[in-house]
């Protein structure tokens, strides 16, 4: 029981002190989980991140599930996962309650009018970074552009695009010019 509580509180702490998610969590995870507690090695954490990147869900939450399961089985997984989402739950509930009351104020609307522009820029930068890593040849480029057009112009559900790309990838070794083994 004591270690279940520790799993909850450690991931709660990491969740509360990292902004932006994803790789921003990596240094703190390594310190809290590998250096201070020996729950997992640094290499294992990198593996969890790599797998988290290519499985459904949120990388940090997935990492919490991995470590929790490794330490204490299914209950460990549940406690660590609950800890990882707990700070967001509390903070966003408070912000949602406040934002609903203040969203109509002109000063808030002006602020968010400009913030939206920056958010667009931040997403563009993220997409550019992902493009450089994921688009390794022309076929990948065609798939990326097709996914963009299908979702942005034709409003196709992302579920179909994800499934379609996965199936195409699975079949790619059979197609001429597919992924080199």
């Amino acid at each position: 029981m004591k270690e279940l509580w520790q799993l909850f509180s450690v991931f709660c702490r990491i969740g509360a002190f990292t902004f932006g998610g994803g790789y921003a969590m990596l240094p703190l995870l390594q310190k809290e989980v590998a250096e201070k507690r020996d729950w997992a090695t640094e290499d294992e954490i990198l593996d969890y991140f790599a797998i988290g990147q290519c499985t459904p869900g949120i990388i940090f939450v997935n990492t919490a599930t991995f470590v929790g399961y490794k330490r204490k089985g299914v209950w460990g997984a549940i406690f660590a996962t609950a800890g990882s989402v707990f700070p967001s739950l509390i903070i966003i509930m408070i912000i949602a309650a406040v934002l609903n009351n203040f969203a109509q104020l002109p000063v808030v609307q002006h602020a968010f009018g400009a913030i939206r522009v920056v958010v667009g820029v931040l997403i563009l930068n993220a997409v550019w970074g992902m493009w450089r890593k994921s688009v390794v040849n022309k076929i990948c480029g065609v798939v990326a552009v097709a996914a963009f057009l299908l979702s942005a112009v034709l409003a196709v559900s992302p579920i179909w695009i994800v499934l379609g790309a996965g199936v195409l990838g699975l079949l790619s070794p059979m197609i001429k010019g597919g992924r080199a083994r």
């Binding site: 490794k70 967001s88 949602a96 097709a146 942005a152």
Partner: protein, 190 residues
């Protein structure tokens, strides 16, 4: 189906199909805004800003926020549990045969084209954010060629170019640019 079940089910689907981190939930959230009255698509960009400026992963923040709009504290919990439920199950299964999963060539094949598709999908979400931010419309068809010049926001476009330059020149934390934009927005009445 009770509306609570629908809330759980919609975030369960997002949790199951959004692969590759927080931004990957964006295209699904835009679909959700189309389908239900839980929040407007314009709110998504605001929530990204809030998420980038507060601790915690974007996906969890969006689920909590949407759930709260839907039904207060309980709604937040239902949506968040729905979001993380599929990945908890999947990770527990993967944990049991970690080595095999990592080196399986079929898994590598799937991700070979899945990664660029997710890149394109997030690009689509970015496109929606910019349509709203620069043209104040939510879909491409809302822009008419006749009054194109009236719809485009000049102040917004200047800020866009400036921020594109600054974010790439100085790799500061997003919170820095979001705060700066809030100040600019208030001073110049965006």
């Amino acid at each position: 189906m009770s509306s609570w079940l629908i809330l759980f089910y919609e975030f369960f689907k997002i949790g199951l199909f959004s692969i590759g981190g927080g931004l990957a939930t964006l295209p699904f959230l835009y679909k959700l805004a189309d389908k239900y009255e839980w929040f407007q698509s314009g709110m998504i960009a605001d929530m990204i800003a809030v998420s980038e400026s507060t601790p915690g992963p974007l996906g969890v923040n969006m689920a909590t926020y949407t759930g709260f709009q839907f039904g207060g504290v309980l709604g937040s919990i239902v949506a968040t549990v729905g979001l993380v439920f599929p990945s908890v199950v999947i990770i527990i299964l993967i944990s049991r045969f970690l080595e095999k999963f990592r080196s399986n060539s079929h898994v590598e094949d799937v991700f070979y084209l899945l990664r660029p598709a997710v890149t394109g999908l997030i690009g689509g979400a970015g496109f929606s954010v910019l349509l709203m931010a620069l043209f104040h419309v939510s879909t491409l068809s809302d822009i008419s060629m006749g009054n194109f010049l009236e719809q485009i926001g000049i102040k917004e476009c200047i800020l866009f170019v400036l921020m594109l330059f600054l974010t790439n020149k100085f790799k500061k934390h997003p919170v820095v640019y979001i705060t700066a934009a809030a100040v600019v927005g208030i001073i110049f009445a965006f």
